[in-house]
Amino acid sequence: MARTSTASLTATLDSILSSPDFRGRVKYVKRLKPRKATYGELSPPLVPSLSNAMAKLGIGPLYSHQVRAVELARTGKSFVVVTGTASGKTLCYNIPVLESLLTRERTNAFYVFPTKALAQDQLKALGRIANEEESIARKLRPGTYDGDTAQQTRRKLRETANVILTNPDMLHQGILPYHTRWSRFFSDLDYVVIDELHAYRGIFGSNVANVIRRLRRICSHYGSNPQFILCSATIRNPRELAQELTGVDVELISQDGSPRGPKLFVFWNPPFLDDARMERRSSNVEAKELLVELITKGTQTIAFTKARVVAELIYRYASDDLATRRAGLKDSIRPYRAGYLPEERREIERQLFSGELMGVVSTNALELGIDVGGLDASITVGFPGTIASTWQQAGRAGRGTREALSVLVAYNDAIDQYLMRHPEYFFRQSPENAVIAPDNPYILAGHLCAAAFELPITEQDVELFGSLTEKITNLLEEAEHVKGIDEKWYWSRTDFPAASVNLRTISDDTYTIVDVKRENAVIGTVDAISAPELVYPEAIYLHEGETYFTRELDMEQKIAYVEKSEVDYYTQPVLDTSLRVLRQQKEKEWAGQKVVLGEADVTWATTAFKKIRFYTLESIGYKTLDLPPQHLETCSMWLVPSASLLKSVRAGGENPIEGLAGIRNMMINVVPLFAMCDKQDIGGIIDSSNTGTPAIFIYDRFRGGLGFAEKTYQLIGEVLAACLSLVKECECQEGCPSCVGLPILRPAQHQDPDVYHGWPIPNKRTALEMLSALLVEASVSESTEVRQSL
């Protein structure tokens, strides 16, 4: 099957664009110019064996950022490399580590990856280098150390390996608690490599930051002080994230010296179905048609979807379509799932390389995965949630300096539509901040227990773990988990604390969902905060495309009992939320309004639910519930509009509360863009009881807060400016779910995102006017400041 030659990719795209079937889709085409490589010279140069090995593998000369990395590594500094996909980031750590191995007597390194698959890939890469040079092969003793490693191999690695490739979970439960068996390794630990830094955000990142704190104190115990080398996709704050994650000073390398072929980046929006301009054609179908068209024209393409169900759907329809187009094309496309065995992955790689396979459909899992090399085109079906991920997916298209095509197909969702109207937002500097909160007391407590088990907690640990260390340690002592003797706190229980800390959750507060028809087999879990909204009694729970009826919710035992049932409706909870401010931390004035950051106790109860028929979206029932309210103590920010603003809105005959509600809805859509969280990670209400006047509260839906409300507080001006753009440019008349309407909150996991629900929608114009007034005010005060400072 012949693949598209360089010049004809543009021709393929032109023919697609001019086809009547695809009229009106393309909202924007960005031509990314090719970039020549910028090289650098190392002085002093690499040791001959290393440069020989690289030359034999066809690696080199080194790009400027790789040279900078080696230079920084040589000075003992920690640094983070933020360059594009396929820019040779791994050499930024492999070269320093190999150089050390060849020049020092003893040197050890941890390589930490978010997945086992990545670790395996990198082990292979190291092996390839060692194969070329005897002297490297003699010194390098690498191995993956994770859940799949056999017992005998584990002992051998502990005793002899010098490069250990692992993942945070293994470090957390399988290595650090057993550090005495690793004393040799820790004593000469010179490097800790952390790849895919941007994956360590939110809860996961907050937990991993604590794992690293524990690692550093163990290193201290054995007399080592490793330098950190991190690699990240493009986010706004890589250096800040790296420093928060590791606790050390980190330099930034962001100038990308690698070459780029020319790329076409296309923004593709399915057309409206009707004149009311509320519904669009299915994005999944559009993506499938595009995929089929590209493959038929000989363009090797990868499609990324947000949910497995969608990947399966697109794969199935595409391969059926291809079968009708031309014989032999039906098998030219394959789905890719996380959890494939290494052999299966190799097989796909091989088939892609040989051209047997022309298309792959995958969920985002692939972006953290295999070395597929480059393809000709990528299709991203629905904005994956972050600009960083979108670029990573787009980065899969492009071989060397050949032309490539990347397409983003929008869902009919607020942010997707916003991007379609504001492509420049996507292409200029990333607004996305990865946020972590390692000092969240609920996260910290678990790790302090683990730390006490590893080594007694001492005063020095306050520097590592933060100001809450003492208070939490005292609490742990009260609870008889630790015992303080002579200013050292020892673990005083027989159990193994690391086993009860899950790096991906914030506490052991999870509900299990069991299927009563299958002897209470566990079919899923949900966090305690979401449970009353998702599996309240009589709720319809969606799981892997099937509908389950919730028979009972046991809040004591934290179990939801469900049974599969064929229903033609789904349910939507009605929540009664209230908020009580506990403490103010910071306050500032913005655009003449008061903005505050603090701690709040959020209470909510599911008081009722609606039954809504699928597809027609008609409401077919309503029932009240009597569930106990939930409490959540967390971080919140609030915006208190001034009396004069409220007055001027009322004077115009509008209801300011509706305006605030619309703004609140938009903030929930927009904040994730700035704080790299999901919509379901934050909540918001309008409340007057705390401030005596209506205020918008945005809070983190996690005990103790995770930093999202805080980031919102910091960037309030930018957040509201984005809200204004959103509402101004939405093409609806009175307001819609894509702007001031209630955003799609917490869709059941595998639900087709094309479906959305109807809710009363606040007045669009009010929101628009209020925001405009605020932002005008903001720019006035800014220029006043500027003038004052002149």
């Binding site: 088990f453 007694p456 009260e478 020892y490 403490r583």
Partner: protein, 283 residues
Amino acid sequence: MKLSRKTKEALSNLIGASRALQQEEGISAEAVSVDEFLPGGVLKGKSGQIYVHEKLRSDVEKNTRRVVSLYRQAELNAFSVELEGRARELEILARTGFSKAVFLDIESTGLFNCPTFLIGTMFLSGDDFVIRQLFARDYSEEKCLIELLSDLLSGFSTIVTFNGKSYDLPFIADRAIYHGTRFINRMFHFDLLHHSRRHWRGVLPNCKLQTLELHVCRRRRVGDIPGSEIPHVYHSFVRTGDPYPMIPVFHHNMLDLITMSELLIELMRREGLIKMRSRAVEG
């Protein structure tokens, strides 16, 4: 490990903490301390101090004189036998002499990666055995415990244990690494478990020490503390300072040591190092 509701509530208060958290004053030292029940004294080492409880085997077991004389017999006979295979170890042990051997059994707070707190030792001294139990009264004394054990062992050339090759010695070595203290053990190590298996695997239901104790040594324990409770008892002791519950732990450890010494006799009898009329070692 679950954070109790109380802890959770406290943590909740903490993040909204405006009132200072009051720490309760630690419970003051109990009027009754360890040495009321387990006489001994404090032993100082480089890194601190530990408690040592000592008694004579003859205070506890009537048959001690007999046992000692059987050991002496074995030492003499050792030069006139030639044992083969694994049994050669017995020969070496006897030839080296039992005054150079020390029995060892540790009690710890778990299988691995956790502190040890009681190291029981027993050795021949004149015509009696001394049972010397080294005890870390809290976690901070463990380092000294290991150092003083090292010192003690340096006066001997053989260690006798039950499963010590897989458990006790690696455990101690691991804790030594943890504390950054040296523990080099080049002594000849005679592990009673390995030899017991040679004789009794398949014959007895299993080769646990207490099974052998019952069937081979003809001794039965009554009311002994279950091994699984020992860690909890120790943690509790560290917290509260109440020594009373610790007594059974010392007792258990001591019984283990005594049984080990009798098991050794039976092994030697089977290999012809000792000639006895019956199997029972009566006083």
